[in-house]
Symmetry: C2
Subunit: 110 residues, 2 copies
Amino acid sequence: MNLELQQFKSEFFKALAHPLRIRILELLSEGDKTVNEIQSIIGSEGSAVSQQLAILRSKNVVFGIKEGTSVIYSLRDPLVKDLLNVAKQIFDNHLVGTITLLEHMRASEQ
Amino acid sequence: MNLELQQFKSEFFKALAHPLRIRILELLSEGDKTVNEIQSIIGSEGSAVSQQLAILRSKNVVFGIKEGTSVIYSLRDPLVKDLLNVAKQIFDNHLVGTITLLEHMRASEQ
DNA sequence: TTCAAATAATCAAATATACGAATATTTATC
DNA sequence: GATAAATATTCGTATATTTGATTATTTGAA
């Protein structure tokens, strides 16, 4: 496997390795939004949202288009939504696995 | 969306945000392996591989089973392979997008 | 006991995060 | 044109976390 793909992947996953950035990407999965909208929905400082968007921009995960005083942000690739969904499935499987494990432990206690 | 899922996702993506750990996960996507096998294939120091496996273990991405003097590692969830594939698709789309952009720039030069 | 395989511990350097202040751009009003 | 408001970004700084290399320790087999 080539190094460029590996480098891309690690940078890409770094972009996703932060709660606020995940939240932003999930909002953008539902549709384009201004910084102001994102910050209102999330209830975060404007500069915090702007900074995280800057990181997402620099790793080519999102892009922004200026509209008057606002900037409208979009996912660069809709597959990001799919990726977040796979991660959710993994989480769900993880939960199921944990519950199953507890049940087995409980059963072997009796 | 609940905080536990968000926390899980960010921790999970942190686990993936490192080249060596990605490489390890890709090898494990192809089948279970000992630390020694992984280190031979990758050509890394044994302690480096072991350290990264410890991180993957701590975030419940992989698990190891002791077999004599060796430990055989497995993905905890095969969906990790799917996730890496989606990331590869995003990379490919990114490349296509970059090439298309260069072509447009080239075309508008003439 | 020795050896191989794996893991844990340690430490310094590098990188990321979090927060508030400062700055830049656009629009509307006078 | 000047000014204020709205929107967004960048900067500066302190703190936290991760990375990478090295060494020490543990475990199991012979």
